[in-house]
């Protein structure tokens, strides 16, 4: 079968994304953004904009679209624009122009004159460190600061002081924008009192609920459709500004409305990964055994304090065996665009700091970095009784070291002509979770089946997983299974996030499939049915009984039922009280740094991962490759720059760099497959996000190996490596 069912549609341009939908009479909206970072809007002169050609309406805080901020249990409150005159960041949506064409709306938007009463803006994370606040509790409810101390140890300071070898350093990571290929966009259409919103999101039912709440409409009257999502990465978890505005304007104007952010607007009118600063102290015995880990983290956060990047909770809390551990998380409220989840929130920037520090410790101990990691391998998170359900990190390092030729590494790197060559490695971990998900399975009388859940496939491959797991659970070929996703009228699939979709939806399929088969068998043996009174069983898509067999389609035909449907649900359950769950990996990379001009080129990469059972090998490999490449991007290219006045200095794809093909060598991905049925019956753990974890540290560690220069911030730039 096709390794990725939606692949042909996507590469031939036939996949219909949200903004690809067009309707008769459709108007176009353009969002107006603030050009100060903090203050109040005193006036907005919209006279010229209103009289510009084609303009239908100009909305502002003085003449707003009525919107209410919706709240979800998973993501908290979502801000909606124009409900007051406050400006909290540069590039904040403050107005909305609707016109007959996109160009007319954009031209009119440029005619809007805004008067501000500007207030001093706080925009520098460094400057704000001194006045940082404690972060709210982590997502699992743990407090911002916590420690695990061995018996008789008074404090982490004592534990560090008693350690024969100590390394201490402070690391910094830049903010990042998701920069999905599909900009945040929506088409909203009202028809007979029902609103249909076509918009890429990570959860169709969640978006429908958000829009209904924001517009104070009944949930049943909002229908959200997103069969294809052009990248999300956490940035389309919350419902986006264009979706709210298009929906409200379509209601106000009684016309379909399309709205898409420009690429430049995506950088401020959505939400970003916050920048972080992290101080780490590691105390070890001379043989490398960790005695103490201290990891203090600061995250930038917008003034509404809506999201904090949990770097120490996401890494040092769980990664190594240590007798003493102390972590803390603080936040620095700034006049910056909103922050939110981005792939491996916490783990990605956290692992840059922790895995750099581990490499620094290996250097201090004159120990091989892999050996140091293996010496401190944990059977359970520090201070917890629940052991890892299935951990094969050692095997990842062993297999990876052999595959990558790690034994040829020397502590000083090597040279090849004018290039300084170094190897680096790092651990990757990402928690294995399940979110609540419901899946409906329908058997049709033509011997096909349908597996449907509202959810979303933002490029992760969930659509294909539905047909693969559906086929397996129904004991039929996956080609016979039609997967259906991205429509809020389907059973609630929840959110495609947290690397949970395969485990969540897959487990729900494994609940729904036996149910629909039971219903089929009851139907087949019911009075008047072909197997009336017989002892029936099911195999290979057929009902068996009394020495005869029929396909399920034949049975349905015989009883005059075109189809039967059953649903199944799954969520994190009892397993969480028995074990700790995580996926694991070992990252390797080789870099070449030019002797004269100091540019860094990644010349080889390998990731070896333990993510339980792999459902779709090709899609899994693609996910991991994408993550590893993103890790290189974070290490060498990507980083939001905020100016003193709060303006994003590099808010477009010309100056916000991501790697191009020439930057990325062949990427080797390998899986050690150990199905984890303690986590779920499918045996699969998440692998969407783990690919990026550790990669930036592996690059930085390789740069150190090549040059002897330790760069403690990302992205690493040429000037960081230029000798005086």
């Amino acid at each position: 079968m096709t390794s990725r069912l939606d692949g042909p549609l996507k590469v031939t341009g036939r996949a219909t994304y949200g903004a690809d939908n067009n309707f008769p009479g459709m108007a176009h909206g353009y969002v107006v953004l603030s050009t100060i970072a903090h203050g109040e809007i005193e006036a907005m002169d919209v006279t010229a904009a209103k009289s510009a050609p084609g303009v239908l309406a100009v909305y502002s805080p003085f003449d707003p679209l009525a919107l209410r901020a919706p709240t979800s249990s998973l993501l908290g409150e979502t801000w909606v624009p124009m409900q007051d005159r406050n400006v909290a960041y540069y590039g904040q949506p403050i107005g909305f122009v609707v016109a007959e064409t996109y160009e007319q709306a954009r031209d009119a938007a440029m005619l809007v004159e805004v008067s501000y009463r500007a207030l001093p803006a706080l925009t520098s994370l460094r400057d704000g460190l001194a006045t940082a606040e404690d972060a709210p509790p982590a997502m699992d409810g743990s407090p911002p600061s916590l420690s695990v101390l061995a018996d008789g140890v008074e404090s982490i300071e004592d534990a560090l002081a008693a350690s024969p070898v100590v390394v201490e350093a402070t690391y910094a990571t830049a903010g990042q924008n998701h920069a999905a290929m599909e900009p945040h966009s929506a088409v909203a259409v009202w028809d007979s009192g029902v609103l249909t919103v076509y918009s890429g999101t990570q959860g169709a039912d969640l978006q429908a609920a958000d829009v209904a709440s924001a517009l104070r409409e009944e949930p049943a009257s909002v229908h959200s459709v997103n069969p294809f999502v052009g990248g999300a990465f956490g940035g389309k978890g919350k419902t986006s500004i264009p979706t709210f505005l298009a929906a409200a304007a379509a209601r106000a104007l009684d016309r379909p409305v399309k709205t898409a952010l420009s690429r430049e607007q995506v950088f401020t009118a959505t939400a970003n990964r916050p920048a972080t600063v992290q101080a780490i102290s590691l105390g070890a015995e001379r043989n490398g055994t960790l005695n103490a880990i201290r990891h203090d983290s600061w995250s930038a956060t917008p003034m509404d304090r809506s999201f904090v990047e949990p770097t120490s909770h996401g890494t040092s809390r769980e990664w190594y065996s240590t007798r003493n551990l102390a972590i803390s998380q603080k936040m620095v409220p700034l006049n910056i665009p909103p922050t939110t989840f981005m792939r491996a929130p916490g783990e990605a920037p956290g692992s840059f700091a922790l895995e750099s520090a581990i490499d620094e410790l290996a250097v201090a101990l004159d120990l091989d970095p892999i050996e140091l990691r293996q010496r401190n391998n944990s059977a359970a998170p520090p201070g917890r009784d629940l052991q890892w359900s299935s951990k094969h990190l050692d095997e990842c390092f062993r297999v990876g070291a052999a595959r990558f030729g790690w034994s040829e590494r020397t502590p000083q790197g090597r040279t090849d002509g004018d290039w300084l060559v170094g190897l680096g490695t790092a651990t990757a971990m990402f928690p294995a979770m399940r979110f609540p998900a419901t899946v409906g399975i329908t058997l049709h009388d033509d011997d096909t089946a349908e597996v449907a859940t509202s959810g979303a496939d933002p490029g992760t491959g969930l659509l294909t997983v539905l047909s693969l797991v559906g086929g397996e659970s129904l004991d039929i070929a996956p080609e016979k299974v039609t997967p259906r996703l991205g429509d809020s009228s389907f059973p609630a699939g929840g959110m495609s996030g947290g690397s949970t979709a395969t485990a969540s939806a897959g487990s729900a399929i494994m609940v729904a499939a036996p149910r629909v088969i039971d219903d089929l068998l009851a139907l087949a043996s019911s009075p008047g049915a072909p197997f009336e009174g017989a002892e029936v069983s099911y195999a290979d898509g057929r009902v068996l009984g009394g020495g005869a067999s029929m396909t399920f389609g034949e049975v349905l035909h015989a009883v005059g039922r075109p189809s039967i449907t059953a649903t199944g649900s799954s969520a994190a359950g009892e397993e969480m009280t028995k074990h700790s769950f995580s996926s694991f990996g070992a990252q390797f990379c080789e870099v070449r740094v030019h002797r004269w001009t100091r540019e860094v080129r990644v010349s080889r990469m390998l990731g070896v991962f333990d993510a339980g059972r792999i459902i779709n090998a090709q899609a899994a490999r693609s996910q991991i490759m994408g993550g590893m490449i993103w890790g290189v991007s974070a290490a060498l290219h990507e980083g939001l720059e905020t100016e003193a006045n709060g303006r994003t200095a590099n808010g477009d794809l010309a100056s916000y760099l991501v790697p191009v093909n020439a930057d990325i060598p062949d990427v080797d991905v390998h899986f050690v497959e150990h199905p984890d049925t303690l986590h779920n019956d499918l045996g699969a753990r998440g692998l969407g996000e783990i690919g990026t974890v550790g990669m930036a540290a592996a690059v930085a560690n390789a740069v150190h190996n090549a040059t002897g220069i330790r760069v403690r911030h990302i992205p690493i730039m040429i000037e960081d490596l230029l000798p005086e």
Partner: protein, 320 residues
């Protein structure tokens, strides 16, 4: 993008007769029109004009409408030119962008491209945001208190090194100007970037014959391996005989307000041995007069290193 009137003159005379913005490949003009940075009322598509042809008989003559990719692939082109072209933009852009347009491309300064920000080049007298802003990519040579933007063309750096000229046509006739004189330092009038008069058109690039320019190269240092502008680049050509430099051409890009010829470095190289030590000594003069900004002091050192690297690659062969 504002509304504009588009016409497509078929002769140079017709093109010169009607004022408007000339459109060749469109890779600068259309980009800046979408950003509202350039708002011409009339756009003249000049692609039908007979400003084509690549002649390598005696030096080079390149029609202004030749595409970057075609010039780069032409067999008679000096290596420094083809390498500068091939390290510019992306293949798709090189297929569209013209040689004349490349020389006239506007700066990549992000404040120039953002109409919400002051910029003396876009709006004279409004101020320079880059001097106190994010200026890592900006110039350290040839700058003024009014503007610190770099010139973005790689091709122009190679051409300056080769003493190239541009042939200009206007309603008053044709004139030929050395490229080194064509570009203007920003001074107090950064909006004036070159010697082009209103209505005048770049017709042709002329490169005088220089046989030893067969021994030339272009090194471009940037934040990623392709599709990115230079932090620093060096165009070099060397005439080496018996281990000594007889003559040299050196120019740098990405570091100056205009493509920057390094005549003092050339002078230091002339007569010296073709060794790393003498290259390093000569390159010391590269950053003479540099005025680094808050974020780009590293360009002073990078410039010298880029020149040394280019000279070494030319004398030792590529060691990539």
């Amino acid at each position: 993008m504002r509304q504009f009137e588009l016409s497509a003159p078929e002769t140079v005379d017709d093109a010169l007769a009607s004022p408007g913005a000339f459109l060749a490949g469109g890779t600068t003009l259309v980009d800046l029109m979408k950003l509202d940075v350039m708002t011409p009322h009339r756009v003249l598509d000049i692609n039908a004009l007979p400003l084509r042809g690549i002649d390598t008989q005696d030096g080079l003559r390149i029609g202004a409408l030749e595409r970057m990719s075609d010039v780069a692939a032409h067999p008679g082109i000096y290596p420094v030119i083809s390498r500068a072209l091939l390290q510019s933009a992306s293949q798709q852009l090189r297929n569209m962008a013209s040689i004349g347009g490349n020389l006239l491309q506007r700066t990549r300064c992000s404040y120039f491209r953002d109409v919400a920000m002051p910029c003396n080049k876009r709006e004279p007298g409004s101020g320079c945001s880059a001097i106190t802003g994010a200026n890592r990519m900006h110039a350290v040579l040839g700058t003024s208190d009014a503007c610190v933007a770099t010139h973005a063309s790689d091709l122009a750096v190679a051409l300056i090194a080769l003493d190239a000229q541009v042939r200009l046509v206007g309603s008053d006739g044709t004139r030929t100007v050395a490229l080194a004189d064509f570009y203007r330092l920003p001074g107090a009038t950064p909006e004036v970037e070159n010697d082009l008069r209103p209505g005048e058109l770049v017709a042709e690039v002329v490169v005088p014959r220089l046989d030893w320019a067969a021994h030339s190269t272009y090194v471009k240092v940037r934040d990623r391996q392709s599709y990115e502008f230079a932090l620093c680049s060096a165009a070099v050509a060397l005439d080496v005989r018996d281990g000594r430099v007889v003559d040299a051409r050196v120019a740098v890009g990405g570091v100056a307000s205009v493509p920057w010829r390094l005549r003092t470095v050339e002078a230091a190289l002339r007569g010296s041995p073709a060794t790393q030590a003498s290259f390093e000594a000569a390159a010391e003069a590269a950053a003479e007069g540099a005025r680094p900004l808050s974020d780009n002091a590293f360009k002073v050192s990078l410039m010298k290193r880029t020149v040394v690297r280019a000279l070494l690659e030319l004398t030792e062969g590529s060691r990539a």
